[in-house]
């Protein structure tokens, strides 16, 4: 089984978010980047497939060379090789086209992406990849078992869980549950050393249009100061809710 794991390179969750002067782009200055947490669950699941079923694991990123440390980390965790499509990941359709092209060319059977990436939270790429390849798509996947080529999946849906099965080739949009947080792997020193010599191939992008373009970003309004009102003073509270907060 050939598994392709999509890895986005996203700001660490503790980063302070700022935008460039004209608010048209995220300001990467001084920001630490990590493997998208949803992708990390998928990567770990892929490593299990490698360890238990002898699958090969390729990690893929569409992005500039600043994302290579993130791919090296995935290699140190246990992926066999990495591919970087050298292009700015400008919109979901463009990225999906690139992933689909790599998947087709490389003859992969299973694509594991995250349900969304935590930077722009578009949540569109894996669905588009499945559509472009005409493969089944299991989104918000929280469980997977079976021997293959048919697998049983569990999906998280509003208010419950859905069980379904599908056969390879297919695309998964993974999240926590695919593996648990405690299953996530921290690279060890030997893995880091081995990652030095594992192949990281840089490919040129295939032609693809972008279907959306970013206008501008803005931050939520800062929280305003809290007004404390004496518990006895209900009439003042009502008056403020009416006149200032305008909620009643």
């Amino acid at each position: 089984m050939k598994v392709l794991v999509c890895i986005s390179h996203v700001p660490d969750t503790t980063s302070k978010i700022n935008f460039t002067a004209d608010n048209s782009a995220f300001d990467k200055n001084g920001v630490q980047f990590v493997i998208n947490p949803y992708d990390e669950f998928g990567l770990t699941r892929a490593i299990w497939l490698k360890e238990k079923k002898g699958a090969s694991v390729t990690v893929l990123n569409v992005g500039g060379n600043e994302t290579e440390p993130t791919l090296r980390k995935a290699l140190a965790i246990g992926a066999d090789n990495a591919i970087r499509v050298d292009a700015e990941p400008s919109d979901a359709f463009f990225v999906a086209k690139q992933i689909a092209a790599v998947a087709q060319e490389g003859g992969y059977d299973l694509i594991i992406a995250g349900r969304e990436s935590i930077d722009y939270n578009g949540g569109q790429v894996p669905g588009m990849v499945a559509a472009l390849l005409n493969w089944p798509f299991v989104n918000a996947c929280v469980g997977m078992d079976g021997e293959g080529p048919e697998f049983n999946f569990t999906r998280e849906i509003d208010g419950g869980k859905e069980k379904l099965s599908a056969s390879l080739p297919l695309v998964i949009g993974g999240q926590k549950g695919l593996v648990e947080e405690s299953d996530l792997r921290i690279p060890n020193m030997r893995g880091i050393m081995q990652a030095r010599t594992k192949p990281l191939e840089v490919k040129a992008a295939v032609d693809a249009e972008t279907k959306t373009s970013v206008g501008s970003f803005s931050k939520p309004a800062p929280k305003s100061a809290v007004k404390m009102i004496d518990a006895e003073n209900v009439s003042e509270l009502v008056q403020l809710l009416h006149d200032e907060a305008k909620v009643i």
């Binding site: 503790t14 290579e68 440390p69 090296r72 980390k73 140190a76 921290i186 690279p187 060890n188 020193m189 030997r190 880091i192 050393m193 030095r196």
Partner: protein
Amino acid sequence: MASDLFESPDYYQIDDLLSEEHKLVRNATRDWVKKEVSPIIEDYAQRAAFPDQLIKGLAEVGAFGPYIPEEYGGAGLDQISYGLMMQEIERGDSGVRSTCSVQSSLVMFPIYAYGSEEQKRKFLPKLASGEFLGSFGLTEPNFGSNPGGMITNYKDMGDHYVLNGAKMWISNAPFCDVAVVWAKNEEGRIHGLIVERGMEGFTTPETHNKWSLRASATGELVFDNVKVPKENLLPGRSGLGAPLSCLDSARYGIAWGALGAAMDCYDTALRYSKERLQFGKPIAGFQLQQKKLAEMITEITKAQLMVWRLGTLKNEGKATTAQISMAKRNSVEIALKIAREARQMLGGMGITGEYSIMRHMMNLESVVTYEGTHDIHLLITGADITGIQAFK
């Protein structure tokens, strides 16, 4: 204990001096410490118990012999990677770092550097995997700063040696499977011997009631006519220089490690002082507290540059013993000062186990004494710059 929010200070963009691989090594070690050490360490330190469940994890992450070549079970990393690992582990706890320093620099290093091929094959992979825990016996009850005076000795009995004497203050002693022991032969020359658990006459009583390094086990190595096979003698080097060269490697790791403890104290005090309100504002807004924080980050930054440079020299094989002494002494000194100031900044909270500061502060009292006391390192620098020894 509150969750571990540690972020490492990098006031001078020293990260730019590191490779991507160095950063991966550091972050992986940090993640491991946050996951495995931070949640349990306070409890173990309070109970003065050795967290032996960490041994397997330390081995897995690669903290035992990171710079020993892969063919002997190490990771083959460079000295800066080793330093960064020690920084991150001591950021968690000096006791856990001590266990790693002893295993890597004081047990694996002498076997790697001075051992026979058979000794390397027999012991190094098991030490790297954590199957064996090692200890290093140099200090004796009456010979601490002056180890050359040691009285532990062995006699050549033809087909084996007989070892007699006692070592004191030995980290990992109570649980060690092997001990690298320094002893004099009949001519009074110091050699290293590998003593194995189970050899008749070899015992390791534990030293109790320490107020420092409570999560690290310390004890004695007692040799009462211990028969040591001849193949357990380290053939590669003899004389006081042999154990001292191991200390160079360990002290180098401590120079990074103590800095890790300092960073943790600073990070804790900075976070706390921005949240703690007195007289209607965060205490971080008072000049006296800012002076403390500003001095802490200045000292941390200077020390970061120093250990980075030392690591570069060590990678090139150019770091001298005296340079290592200076960095070990400096890092421990600033760490102790920062721990004491940081503790005060937390007021009453600073004395509780809710925060790591007081544990670091007490741990550092050992770190300032072992691997050459604070005074001895000053004398090493003094001798180096004047050419005149002032030890005796």
